[in-house]
């Protein structure tokens, strides 16, 4: 599935994800994998609220970092897909 095709999905963190903040970074741990988030991916993570779509988050990133919306949505989708693949997020279809 292309990133643009994912754009209407809503990223939702696992309910039991463990999070710690230290030295400006977030450590996010699922049952098997641990990620350290900083920079843009950290900003993306913070924008996840259970209702924003990837497109919404990409638009916010576009404003924040002054990059074209399409590029920001692609980058957002790519970053979030990595977290999805490691079980830290699920994607909910916008029309659910």
């Amino acid at each position: 599935m292309s990133h643009q095709a994912l754009a209407n999905s809503v990223p939702v963190p696992r309910l039991d994800v463990r999070i710690r903040k230290s030295r400006g970074k977030l450590t996010v741990a699922g049952p098997e994998h641990v990620f350290e988030l900083e920079g843009v991916i950290l900003d993306i993570w913070k924008m996840i609220d259970g209702s924003r779509t990837i497109r919404d988050i990409g638009a916010l990133i576009s404003e924040e970092y002054d990059v074209p919306v399409g590029e920001a949505v692609d980058d957002t989708a790519e970053a979030l897909m990595e977290l999805v693949e490691h079980g830290l997020l699920t994607l909910r279809s916008d029309d659910e």
Binding site: L15, K21, S22, L26
Partner: protein, 264 residues
């Protein structure tokens, strides 16, 4: 603090509550914080040296220290209940040894060895009023300030909240929604305690949590948002799982905002 009854050493001596030797005697608890009411007890702390206070009237409370009991006297004076705890100085040393930076960095659950007695004791040190032994009290509070006390309580709250969240999620997945609601309540309490500890409001008693929240006024989560969950305003008996999810999101938000401290 104005409603704190005046207790003197002579009052304690009159009631047979004062040892021959002591390092400090101080008041603390809700009355000293100004949160007391007519029914509130008065918490009196007597710090002794090598001798453990023991009388026929003494209630020995089991604690995870050596000696492994805390001597407590309870009596009512002019309608006010006095709770007098006798801590040996060596016991205080042991409590403080549980919140050192070395202990914090061991990788064990930080603050996990602290019992509720010890958490209350340390919290009440921070706003105690000395009757005598001001120097002892000042020194102990200074020890506490340079220890990993705050870091330990923050980590303790976050870790225990995680455990309770895992319980809640597992119970929801198995369809045990009522248990999930109770686990979520536990998670919420630990999470709020961690948030408040990060703002130097300590203590483990849930009954004062709203008071402590008002004082700490953490910018991360408004009082109204906190109170809505604490008082379970949005719990729909027909769909309690949604409230559980709200609590889990609250815990996640707190964990995302509260900085884990490191040794200075």
């Amino acid at each position: 603090m104005n409603d704190t009854p005046l207790i003197t050493l002579e009052d304690l001596r009159t009631h047979g509550l004062l040892p021959d030797t002591y390092k400090a005697v101080y008041l603390s608890g809700s009355r000293v914080r100004g949160w007391g009411n007519a029914a509130s007890n008065l918490n009196i702390y007597v710090i002794t040296g090598d001798e453990q206070w023991q009388r026929p009237t003494t209630n020995p409370h089991p604690i995870a220290l050596r000696p492994d009991t805390l001597s407590v006297e309870i009596l009512t004076v002019d309608g006010c209940r006095w709770d007098v705890e006798y801590w040996m100085d060596a016991q205080v040393d042991q409590v403080l040894s549980k919140v050192t930076w070395d202990e914090y960095e061991t990788g064990q659950i930080a603050g996990g060895r602290l019992t509720s007695y010890e958490i209350d004791f340390l919290e009440r040190l921070t706003y105690a009023r000395a009757i005598t032994g001001e120097e002892w009290l000042t020194g102990r509070v200074a020890d506490l300030r340079t220890s990993a006390y705050r870091a330990s309580l923050v980590a303790r709250g976050l870790n225990f909240a995680d455990v309770a969240v895992e319980d809640a999620v597992g119970q929801m997945e198995s369809g045990d929604i009522e248990s999930a609601v109770l686990s979520a309540r536990i998670a919420f309490g630990f999470s709020v305690d961690a948030l408040l500890a990060s703002h130097d409001e300590f203590g483990g008693s849930p009954k004062w949590r709203a008071r402590r929240y008002r004082i700490a006024a953490p910018p991360e989560v408004s009082f109204d948002e906190y109170w809505a969950l604490e008082s379970m305003q949005s719990l729909d008996p027909a769909a309690p799982g949604k409230w559980v999810e709200e609590v889990v999101m609250f815990c996640r938000k707190v964990a995302s905002e509260v900085e884990i401290e490191e040794r200075p």
